[in-house]
């Protein structure tokens, strides 16, 4: 499977935004590596979200790490907690 991900402008812009953010270096790398597995079209929404409010970079980084942990440990209640937190973040956006 050829790697198409790195060709996209969306990925490059997201990468720049992540690198400019105040996330720890390790978290920056982790997030960039995650988005590197995604095709350019899927990243359109990510870029828009990050551009409109860079607080979302930290939120998404934490969300990704938490989800990884919940999935790795098979922790059902942790996953539910993550989804509840997401719902509250989205409700905030709707206001």
């Amino acid at each position: 499977m050829p790697l198409q991900i790195l060709k996209g402008k969306n990925f490059q812009k997201i990468k720049e935004l992540i690198l400019k953010s105040n996330l720890p270096f390790v978290d920056q790398n982790e997030l960039i590596a995650a988005f590197a597995r995604t095709n350019n079209l899927s990243l359109k929404g990510v870029l828009k979200l990050f551009t409109e409010d860079n607080l979302w970079i930290k939120r998404i980084s934490e969300n990704y790490k938490a989800k990884r942990e919940a999935l790795t440990t098979g922790n059902y209640s942790m996953w539910q907690k993550i989804v509840k937190e997401e719902e509250s973040q989205l409700q905030e956006l709707e206001r």
Partner: protein
């Protein structure tokens, strides 16, 4: 003084029901909930999240799509396109995944071991790994990572910042290599998928283990849907497993 060896008398031992009745009801419920908590299954977790987030609209709907994409990436499956569909105006998909759909998504594979013998076609042939896309190489260079095409190893040229985890870079190089078999009548090139857990990063001054491993596994897809997983050692094919999808 009371002897500990004698243990409690039968009157002192309470049944489980008696012990439960001694506890406040909330505590009993909490204990039962902990015991009965289902294990988190990735596809079900995704369906559960999608069910919870699909009621949102407008800007929140777009953000929900991103959160689902993050889940798909965490799961590491082919759910990414579904996550994207969530962002679109009229997604055509069921509310939740049925058990049958989940079952279909499970990678059903059968492993057949194929050991190469001396003189066989691929055995001992030199292999060379190259990037399909030059941009991958550029990105690795930006990260100060050097790729050794013969060994299939990656060297971090600088020590990097404290806490740098090379494992985090693996998804970037996954699927980015081609395999070239050097044959008598020329070079046969195949696109391959790299087995990430066998990609080696060499970090200067950080342990012997990371510098001595030179084995890499690569996956080459065949037209019948099967895949050959080659083990490469010191730039030569050392063995292979053919992985066939079960029917």
């Amino acid at each position: 003084m009371k002897s500990f060896e004698a243990g409690p008398s039968p009157e002192q031992i309470k049944s489980e029901e008696e012990m439960a009745s001694d506890l406040p009801k909330e505590e009993v419920l909490e204990v039962r909930e902990q015991v009965e908590e289902p294990e988190l299954k990735p596809e079900q977790a995704f369906a559960n999240e999608r069910g919870a987030l699909e009621r949102f609209s407008g800007k929140a709907k777009k953000a929900a799509g991103v959160l689902l994409l993050v889940s798909a990436l965490s799961i590491g499956s082919g759910l990414i396109s579904e996550a994207r569909a969530q962002e679109e105006e009229n997604p055509k998909k069921p509310d939740t995944l049925s058990a049958e759909q989940i079952e279909k998504r499970k990678p059903a594979k059968e492993l057949i071991f194929k050991e190469f013998k001396a003189g066989e076609k691929e055995n001992g042939h030199d292999v060379k790994m190259e990037f399909l896309d030059n941009e991958v190489e550029t990105t690795l260079k930006e990260q100060n990572i050097q790729f050794n095409e013969k060994e299939g190893s990656f060297t971090l040229l600088n020590e990097g910042e404290k806490g740098f985890d090379p494992e985090k870079m693996l998804p970037i190089v996954k699927g980015a290599l081609t395999l070239k078999f050097q044959e008598n009548n020329g070079v046969r090139t195949e696109k391959v998928e790299v087995s990430t857990e066998k990609i080696v990063f060499i970090i200067p001054g950080q342990g012997v283990n990371s510098t001595t491993r030179k084995i890499i596994k690569i996956k080459s897809y065949n037209s019948d849907g099967s895949a050959d997983i080659f083990t490469i050692s010191d730039g030569k094919v050392a063995g292979a497993i053919t992985e066939k999808p079960t029917k």
